[in-house]
């Protein structure tokens, strides 16, 4: 056990699994880097340095740099998964899904079903998401609702370093295709993380705070904000349960419904665009299955229905803030049925 960053946690998970299972290979643009170049080899390790050091240890045979051809290499990862390997492919930013989505949602996600259960596709796609780095419209999106919408895909949103390591090891050992969303503003966050390998099961929410006045469901980086809000409200004697579902598909509906049964009040915080997103997914779940327990309207805290803007003032206004979340919790507490 020692303090590790989210970046290190992801990196360790990859290293553990590559040591443990020869079928695990990784691929992506510059996951090693320097290929064919005159200078340093393993020069990049991906844009965040997450995969640096893997090529020297495991060789170019298992750490595969790729041309900028996402359809071909994400599809290759799907094809390799269906034929015996356990690839971890890096889609550098989830914003690039548009050039390769077919291989993810029509191929990898559907093999098992279309082929009558006679295929396994143990594929992991690691990808960066989220706003906050002034990377603007095409490098800042939180497109996990789209992947959650697709039957056959599992979708993971690690909210901290500890979560990242355990969930990624689980993802690699899982026999279904998994899309693993790393928030680009979390890579430097640190916490205690075991040195050894461990798994966190999918579909089991984590209650990061417990309280009986209101339930906050949040995803990825928004869990951090929700925790801050819960801590601040605690000072005022308001107890919040913060639920980090960890995986949006499968979803731990029970944890959410049980908590709402107790608190009767729900705020959902989602960094994704507001239409057909996880906030609506959770709000709808509760409106259907915990309606009787609700003491106030559900509140959804999301960005506006716009692309992510560039200028810092704009982006800061775009991202759901702890202040907005706190205001919403106070709102549901004040509201009466």
């Amino acid at each position: 056990m020692s303090r590790k960053t989210y970046r290190q946690a992801v990196s360790e998970a990859l290293r553990h699994e590559m040591r443990r299972d020869l079928r695990v290979v990784i691929m992506g643009e510059d996951v090693s880097g320097g290929l064919g170049a005159p200078g340093e080899q393993d020069a990049w390790g991906g844009p965040q340095g997450v995969t640096k050091g893997l090529m020297p240890e495991f060789g170019r045979g298992r750490v595969l740099d790729t041309p900028i051809s996402e359809s071909a290499f994400i599809g290759a990862a799907a094809g390799a998964a269906a034929t015996g390997l356990r690839p971890v492919a890096e889609l550098m930013f989830v914003d690039f899904m548009g050039v390769c989505f077919d291989q993810i949602f029509n191929q990898a996600a559907k093999f098992r079903y279309m082929f009558g259960g006679r295929a396994v596709t143990p594929l992991v796609i690691r990808t960066q998401y989220g706003a906050g780095l002034r990377a603007a419209s095409q490098h800042s999106q939180s497109l996990y609702p789209i992947f959650t919408h697709i039957p056959g895909l599992k979708v993971v949103l690690p909210s901290s370093a500890y979560e990242a390591k355990g969930l990624l090891i689980q993802a690699i050992r899982d026999d279904d295709p998994v899309v693993f969303f790393e928030h680009k503003a979390l890579y430097d966050d640190e916490e205690e993380v075991p040195d050894e390998a461990y798994t966190i099961p999918f579909g089991e929410a984590n209650l990061t705070r417990e309280g009986s006045d209101a339930t906050i469901v949040a995803f990825g980086r928004m869990v951090k904000f929700a925790n801050q809000v819960a801590d601040s409200l605690e000072q005022d004697g308001i107890g919040c349960t913060v639920i980090d579902p960890r995986t949006t598909s499968p979803l731990d509906s029970d944890a959410i419904l049980d908590s709402v049964a107790e608190t009767g009040r729900l705020v959902v915080v989602d960094e994704a665009s507001p239409r057909c997103n996880m906030a609506t997914d959770i709000a709808a779940l509760v409106a259907e299955h915990a309606f009787g327990a609700l003491k106030a309207p559900v509140r959804m805290i999301t960005p506006p229905h716009t692309p992510v803007p560039f200028a810092p003032e704009l982006e800061d206004a775009y991202i759901p803030s702890p202040a907005r979340i706190e205001e919403a919790v106070r709102g549901v507490l004040a509201a009466k049925r």
Binding site: S71, G75, A78, T83
Partner: protein, 321 residues
């Protein structure tokens, strides 16, 4: 490549099976008993069989929307295929896939594909599996002339080259993508395109089994022995229209009749093996009879095979949840 008598018999049987399967599916579809979107491979048999005769169970192919021929050539169970088309739970994909997604991974058949250009990236992956796990396996993607314009296909050419994969791309150029002529839709030239990406490439007459078999053998041997990817441009014809239901009016007058009369890979094969006494006429006739019986039984069994129940909708999405 010199073929043994057994190999010749197998080649003829496989081609004849595909032909008979497709002719019968055409009839069944017209009778309104077959559901779904169906694309027939009749006329193109020498391509699937010429290529797949060079492959074993450890090798993998990816097919197209026009997948029945590749399935049969790769050794999939014909009865289970027919049951799949009939939507039976006893089908190759338990009735969930249908014609456009028919597959059998245990035979290295990675699926027909409803997405034009869907297969080539997958085949890069199958080739990667073979390379990493050192199985000696080879992976083959079948692609139509139309599919040769899909970015996924073109990217795969390059990926296979830079990763030095044991992969072969087989462009089955039947002159049309739906109703659009490949002479219009394909800019440049298939062989030059391949060479542009550094892939060795050969053009072959897809009506001639021996031609296809030979060129495919060369490409597959190259791949298997570490020589990397290559491409085959197979020029052939489809007898039926794009899908069952297409009137095919874009064809020239008498085009199909002429194709059937003059460009029939089965007739050509028969003629050649019989004239050169490689096989006896009776041997070939016997196969025809056996194939006819097999297809008849397949249809009979498929008609009464068990249908899935509503509860089956929910299975097979995930291995674990």
């Amino acid at each position: 490549m010199q073929l043994s008598r057994d190999q010749l018999l197998r080649a003829y049987r496989d081609m004849a099976t595909i032909r008979a399967f497709e002719e019968r599916v055409h009839v069944e579809f017209a009778a309104g008993v077959l559901p779904g979107f169906v694309h027939l491979y009749a006329g193109e048999e020498a391509s699937a069989v010429g290529v797949c005769m060079n492959l074993g169970d450890g090798d993998v192919i990816a097919s197209t929307h026009r997948g029945h021929g590749h399935c049969i050539a790769k050794g999939c169970d014909v009865k289970a295929m027919m049951k799949e088309l009939y939507g039976s739970v006893e089908g190759l994909c338990r009735g969930k896939g249908g014609s456009m997604h028919i597959a059998d991974l245990s035979r290295g058949m990675l699926g027909a594909n409803g997405i034009v250009g869907g297969g080539p990236p997958l085949i890069c992956g199958a080739a990667l599996s073979a390379k990493v796990m050192k199985t000696g396996g080879v992976a083959v993607a079948f692609v139509g002339d139309g599919g040769s314009n899909q970015g996924t296909t073109l990217e795969s050419f390059n990926l296979a080259r830079v990763w030095e994969l044991p992969a072969v791309f087989v462009i089955e150029d039947n002159g049309y993508a739906e109703s659009t002529a490949s002479s219009w839709a394909v800019g440049g030239d298939q062989l030059k395109r391949a060479e542009g990406f550094g892939l060795p490439a050969r053009r072959v007459d897809g009506h001639d089994f021996f031609d296809v078999h030979d060129a495919a053998g060369e490409a597959i041997t190259r791949a298997r022995s570490g020589g990397g990817p290559s491409l085959l441009h197979v020029v052939l014809d489809r007898y039926y229209s794009h899908f069952e239901g297409d009137a095919g009016t874009y064809r020239g007058p008498g085009e199909v009749d002429r194709l059937r009369a003059e460009k029939d890979c089965l007739k050509r094969f028969r003629k050649r093996v019989i004239e050169s006494a490689l096989l006896g006429k009776d041997q070939v006739d016997t196969i025809d009879r056996e194939v006819a019986a097999l297809i008849e039984t397949s249809v009979r069994e498929a008609r009464t095979a068990a249908k899935p129940s509503a509860a089956d909708v929910l299975t097979d999405v995930y291995l674990s949840y």
